[in-house]
Every structure is written in structure tokens, then in C-alpha cells.
Subunit: 190 residues, 2 copies
DNA sequence: AGCTGATAGTTAGGAAGCTAACTATTATTG
DNA sequence: CAATAATAGTTAGCTTCCTAACTATCAGCT
């Protein structure tokens, strides 16, 4: 029986057995997908535990990085160049980039503001909108946190050689494309 | 700037640029990890949307499958063989197998019981424990749902050939092993 | 100018995750 | 046997996700 994301992944033979009862079950597909989900879950757990140790959650970290990315673009832009339009700073833009709803983003910004990482300001042009800015505290936090964060990433992927990483990226891109197609047309799975 | 799980993955060139400021950042490691997390997220989204369409969440589905697995083992066992000991049926066992806390499992079982999918019974041997059982409604639901569920899995992984799936599983197993090592010894990342 | 429709951020309620604490039960120790 | 420690499931509170609805503001149309 294939069981999703369980502590112990089912062995391939179990999948073959289950395929006898369920003709729709493709053993190698199930095995590959389970491994994909499970490995990602494990990698995510390693990374997010490091974040947790530093008092930040993955979601909040993503918001901080997005805002920081905006700041970096501004800092690199030649004087007088208007670059604000392309960097997210409103709750809606942040939500869109993070792939969450505006309602969820409100909560994330709430806790970030509460902890002194961001400030909300009314937009001067459109009174419906807020503008979200990083505080100095957040920049300080990121500078102290990011080196270790990247080292964790490197440590995780040190299991693979450069060539293996390239192969992995290529295969994953194929799966990703397929998922995008399935999300556009769910009927394709039937 | 590498940004985790954003709508658009950063291009490799952006990672090279960022590596100039952060020597701890390994571009190919970051790229591979981001692709892994992103692809898994997309695959998970396709699968869980199908579940949502059928009124079940991934977490609840996992509980049902675990209990169902226990039932299948019982049904396959020769008469008189005591097999209950190896199949999870208490909230703690279910939680352990799902990788969540007992507190979380209480909530999952609550809603499953509310919707008529499971029944709680006091354990006859140990008064501290409950025993969780599938209802006929749950078995009926699974029989109707599983074929389509497996077809989705096959559709997702149809992007890869059998050989490519084998390569993917091999690479993922390496990463998985590394994650397990890092979780045992976080200092190894520094 | 006034009305209607669209938009942004927030609120309310629910689900699912966590931690810490709790109550009831069982196991262990002296 | 009594006291202490361990265990199981639940509760309370928080965070993060969702949907639907809301209020305030802006845009478009007549």
C-alpha cells in the first residue's frame, strides 16, 4: 500500500503488490513521487529548523527576503532612476510573489511588524494601499543569518556532485512543467 | 538574490551574482535545492487539490490510509494470527507514523470522527489509550477515491521515463541520507 | 456629478501545524 | 503499599494557511 509521506517509505515490492489490486497505480511513478515529496520534506525540515533556531519562520523569512531584494535593487540603481515599480512592497504584491492570499499576508506582516522587522506606511498615491518597509533591525538580522542559511543549503546539496545537480535540475524541470500543465487542465489526468 | 519558493525561481545568473556578496552561497546548490522544493510544492499542490475536490485533506487522507493499511494486513493474515501489534491504531502510533505531534493528531481524528470516517474506542487493555477504527463510510470513500488518486500520481510522473525515474530516485536518496545526517548533527553544516 | 464596478487590506471563522500544560492512568521504586 | 515517575490523549494558545465577507478607496461609465 502506498502511503504518502510516512516515516518509512514503502519498498518498491510493496508498490508492485498494491498495483495488483489497483490497476491505476503505477509502481515506479508512485515510488518516484513519494521520494520527491519525502526528500523535499526532509530538506525543508533541515532548513526551517535552522530558521526556527534563529526565531524566524520560512514564511516570514520569505517576506523579509522579498523586501530586502527590493532594497538591494534600489541601492544598486543609478541615482534618479525610478525602480520602485518592479520591487514588491504592498501586501498584495508580497502575497502574489509568495504564492499566498492577501489575507495570509496580513497575518505575516502583522507578526513581522509586531517583532519590529517591518513598518507599514500608507501609500501616498493610492489610499487603499499600504507600503511595507524593512527596519534596520531586519537588515541586521538578515546579515547575521544569511551566511549560515546558505551554508545549510550547501551542506544539504553536498550529497550531489555538480553534474548530478544538473541532472536533478533537468529532471525536476520536466516534472514541474507537467504539474503546470495539470494545474491548467486537470482533466488530462483522467 | 536567492528567494525561496517564489513564483519565479531566480535564474542561475542571479545566483552567481549573489554569490559575490555571500561567499557562503553555492549557486548550483541553491539552484538545485530551490528546484527540489519548488517542484515538490507543485506536485503536492496538484495532488492535494484533487483531494480537496473530494473533500479530504492530505493529512486526513494519510490517517485514513494508515488505518486502512492496518485493516488490509488484518484481512490478509491467516486466521488466528495476531497482527494488531504492528499496525497503528492508537493516536500516538498514528501521530508517530505521520510525523506529527499527538496534539495535532487529536485534531485530525476529531474532524475525521465528526465526518463519520473513524470511530474512537477505549483500549480494553490500557485505560490511557484510545483505539481508532475506520468506518464503512471511510472504506467506501477510499475505494471510490484511490483509483483517481493514483492516476494523478501517474500523470505527474509521466513527464519522466522509467530510466529517468530511477535516476531521480537514486539522486533523491542521496539527498535524503544527507538530510538525515544533518538532522542528527546540525553542527556538520558549519 | 453620481452611480456602479473593481480593488486593497483586513476581519471572522475554520483547519492544521506547533509547544506547554493538564488530567487520568500505568509503571517503577523503596 | 505508597509515593514518584512515565505515559496517553486532550486542551489552550499561537502561527500560518485558506475562504468569504467587509469597509474604504479608486476607476470607469453615463
Amino acid at each position: 500500500m502506498p502511503l504518502l509521506l510516512l516515516k518509512d517509505l514503502p519498498r518498491y515490492e510493496c508498490l508492485l503488490e498494491a498495483a495488483r489490486e489497483f490497476p491505476d497505480l503505477d509502481p515506479s511513478a508512485a515510488e518516484a513521487l513519494l521520494h520527491l515529496l519525502r526528500t523535499s520534506d526532509e530538506a525543508y525540515a533541515v532548513s526551517s529548523r535552522n530558521m526556527g533556531d534563529h526565531g524566524i519562520s520560512p514564511g516570514r523569512f520569505m517576506v523579509l527576503m522579498l523586501l530586502w531584494h527590493g532594497d538591494q535593487i534600489k541601492a544598486a540603481a543609478p541615482a534618479g532612476t525610478v525602480t520602485c515599480a518592479c520591487s514588491p512592497h504592498t501586501p498584495a504584491e508580497l502575497a502574489d510573489n509568495c504564492g499566498v492570499t492577501r489575507a495570509t499576508m496580513t497575518g505575516l506582516i502583522d507578526t513581522l511588524e509586531r517583532d519590529g522587522f517591518v513598518k507599514r506606511e500608507p501609500d501616498p498615491v493610492d489610499r487603499r494601499m499600504m507600503s511595507v518597509r524593512l527596519t534596520a533591525k531586519a537588515e541586521e538580522f538578515l546579515h547575521g543569518f544569511l551566511p549560515g542559511h546558505f551554508r545549510i543549503h550547501s551542506a544539504i546539496m553536498s550529497a550531489l556532485s555538480e553534474a548530478e545537480r544538473k541532472v536533478l535540475v533537468r529532471l525536476l524541470a520536466k516534472v514541474q512543467q507537467q504539474c503546470a500543465a495539470l494545474r491548467s487542465d486537470p482533466a488530462a489526468a483522467t
